[in-house]
Amino acid sequence: MKASRLSFILLAGFILASFGLFRIQILKGAYYRVLSEKNRIRVIYLEASRGNILDRNNKPLISNRLSFNCSVITREARQSIKRSCKILAPILGVSAEELEKRFRKSKPGVFNTVLMAEDINASKAIEIEERLEDLPGFIIETRPLREYPNEKSAAHLTGYIGPITQQEADFLDAYGYREADWLGRDGLEKMYESYLRGQSGGLQMEVDSRGRFLRALGLKEPREGKDIQLTIDSRLQVFVQDLLISQKGAVILMNLGDGGILSMNSSPSFDPNLFASTEGRKGVGKYLRGAGAPMVNRGIRGQYPAGSIFKIITALAGLESKKVSALSTFNCPGYTAVGGKIFHCWRETGHGPQRMSEAFAHSCNVYFYNVGLMTGINFLTQKTLEFGFSKLTGVDLPGEKGGFVPSREWKQRSQQQGWYDGETVNLAIGQGYLQVTPVQALVMIAAIATDGHLFKPHLIDKIEGVRVAEKHARYLNIDAAHLKAVKEGLDAVVNSDTGTGRLARAAGVHIAGKTGTAQSGQDKTHAWFVGFAPEENPKVALVVFVENGGRGGVVAAKLAGAIFQKLKETSYL
């Protein structure tokens, strides 16, 4: 009894639902059918523009401009496509056959509009707009196009974008990505994808039989991505890239106040603008397969022998181990014998008796061979690791490499061999197994400049005007006297009359630094310079690395000098 009463209540519900169904499908069905009919409803995809990336002075490193695309709605255009293509051909300057071919390439059953001509200029767009009545199914779409005003100068920072793959689209579906989306592929575009990316929208509209807008049925407004401000100064960024124009290498400048990167350059470079459009991407093969690996950010991904810039670590390790003092003197006859092998100084005639500051100034190998041997490999390895080598610095760019620091244990494990003194000697001058990235060298010299603050460098400063970056440094407890001794050496490198880094001098600035000339295994050596200024109150640290550039004291130091000069002009120093 009760059960049948309950079932009647539910029956009433089902009957009401059926009536509802009858009403919208049978009584009003024709109306809804018209709404959903081919020629009456259109969906225009409204792509949200990605956030801009600005430098510290609000100059854009990445922005967007509005572009016009001529697109076509397949199912509306199919019938009269031949005629339409003939009308369009002279306007677009493309043959009618080619246009038809583009149309045929469209995937059937997919609603996406088909791109007929990308990024056409405004006058052509207007011309087409005027003739749309004769071009059923054709539309002019506006789309934000990514722009990189600095072109090659900041390419490794900005990275580039690329169209999503089918696999990624499926995977990222839950995050609102769809098939035609583009996403960050490298650099900051990739690193901050989740902030930069906007939320795309769509407009569903009712149009009349001639494709004219009647009313909007549904609109999801696109939401722009967030703007990101960097610590980069684009003046420096462009200036340095011009210096590197005919070189392979990397230069990074860091603000010692907060660890913010002022500029980060890698050469050779590429033009990210090409990657931003379908048409442009046809020309990127030269970069992807290009000689000199222009896509690689050498500053964070290149791993090289450190050469003489490593003597900074050797000296500090020697001092900290108490085996040597700033006044310890070693005689340099031009070579030394270790384990029955002869190790040369770079100056064959020798430097004679050398103290630490002289040894730095002359980059005397024999002096540092001796320091290395007295310090011992274990302590040397330990100090090297303390300065962050072999680990990522954590700079906010994707794909950073960690380099390599050898140790006695590593050698035993990997080669089942004991460690030889000859290898200690090699490590002491930054050769042998050691591999470092330029950004690691920068963090090291910054730690010396700031009396032991090991920075985590960063590029980002603000997201949508909100500061997100802060100084992030680990303090290394190093004896002040030892730091002072090393700094005296670094001063002598640049400022003494016989220093190897004299070319790094700049008028009106007191600079300290160290040159490096690293054997590359090829004919030409790698040239290094690490330094900071002003010496008394360091504000900026830099690393200059030139791949197969020759001597550090010539090529790298000269570049550093020019950069210090520019830093003075832009009042960073």
């Binding site: 309950l6 079932s7 539910l10 059926s18 509802g20 069905g29 059918r33 009919e37 839950a174």
Partner: protein
């Protein structure tokens, strides 16, 4: 006298009707989630079929044991359901809600399981206590039995499943012996309290309810789904646009179209005939369930049949009503049709229980 157990009493009709609904569902899911790059075994439809296989297996396991013996499992099942409901709150949120417990590639949805747990627990309590003799204090127990999972489900938040417990509870109270007047009074009280409760809802839930009251309030945002769904169903007219022919569906106008809005796909591609068939098939199951409820003199079985039938019926009506814009979008799946493993398995287990009651009920 107990009747001897045999498969002869297995109600084939009650087993085949859900299968038929399920098949309509599979076609719709396939159509709704079609991607040209996928082979059939990668599709959601294939996954759903696997879940149905598990569910059907469950049916045959459930009917083998006298449902009476399941009584001992009622409270363990109920507390297990509660445990899952608590656990799920600690799971990472997906789409802003803690509704799923990830188990490998499968996401378990505890609220589906909890619905059945609540019905079992209530049936057990109502069967063992007669309303005429119950103490005031003991009277609170059924309210607690429903209240705790209700609040936990709302916390997820899963408004739809939570609200669904209310009519089921009322129907069972009625069968137990509550006067209709008392139940109406409770509904009235709830209606008066709801503006205050409204305050506790999430913003998106508020938006959905407000849009239901006035769809023009936000035709671009929350109203979008309803507009699209109505266009889809309406444009199907009498015979539909044919399998895979729904423009609303295929052109991605319909959000959540393989889950909560699957009925819109049926309406668009199958037309009035297909959509009405689904309604009729659901009614047949519900009717059968209430016949079992009325004919079973043993109280546990009778209560269980009432709870299950009400659950399936209201869930179908609410889901269908919401896709047509007659009821607010509260987000509950259409049983057996919407994509979702837990829902399919739990629904099939419920059907299994109905079958079991019919086969094993003691006849006096």
């Amino acid at each position: 006298m107990r009747k001897k157990v045999s498969f002869r009493n297995f109600d084939k009709f009650l087993f085949l009707t859900p299968i038929l609904i399920f098949l309509i569902g599979i076609l719709s899911i396939y159509s709704a989630s079609f991607k040209s790059s996928q082979s059939f075994d990668q599709t959601l439809a294939m996954k759903q079929i696997l879940w149905m296989a598990i569910g059907s297996l469950g049916v045959f396991l459930v009917v083998r044991v006298d449902y009476f013996k399941l009584k001992d499992l009622v409270w363990p099942a109920y507390f297990l359901a509660l445990l899952f409901l608590v656990l799920v709150l600690f799971m990472p949120a997906r789409l802003g809600a803690h509704r799923w417990i990830p188990l490998g590639s499968f996401n378990f949805q505890p609220s589906e399981f909890a619905k059945l747990g609540v019905i079992l627990a209530l049936s057990h309590f109502f069967a063992n206590n007669r309303i005429e003799f119950i103490s005031k204090r003991k009277m609170l127990i059924p309210f607690i039995v429903v209240g705790v999972p209700f609040l936990l489900v709302l916390k997820e938040p899963d408004l739809g499943t939570g609200l669904l417990m209310i009519p089921v509870f009322f129907a069972m109270l009625y069968v137990w012996g509550f006067k209709p007047k008392t139940i109406f009074l409770m509904v009235l009280l709830g209606a008066i309290a709801s503006p205050f409760l409204f305050h506790f809802l999430k913003d998106y839930q508020k938006a959905r309810l407000l849009v239901f009251i006035n769809p023009n309030l936000d035709p671009l945002g929350a109203g979008y789904t309803i507009i699209q769904s109505k266009i889809a169903i309406g444009s199907g007219e009498l015979l539909g646009k044919g399998f895979m022919g729904g423009t609303q569906n295929q052109l991605n106008f319909l959000p959540e179209r393989h889950t909560d809005f699957i009925f819109a796909v049926i309406g668009e591609e199958g037309g009035f005939l297909a959509a009405l068939s689904v309604i009729v098939l659901f009614w047949l199951i519900v009717k059968k369930g209430f016949i079992i409820c009325g004919e079973t003199l043993e109280r546990f079985g009778s209560m269980l049949a009432c709870g299950i039938s009400t659950m399936l019926g209201t869930q179908a009506i609410i889901n269908i009503g919401m896709t047509m814009g007659f009821l607010p979008v509260v987000g509950i799946p259409l049983p057996l049709v919407s994509y979702g493993g837990t829902s399919v398995v739990v629904t099939m287990l419920s059907i299994g229980l109905l079958l079991n009651i019919k086969m094993h009920r003691p006849l006096f």
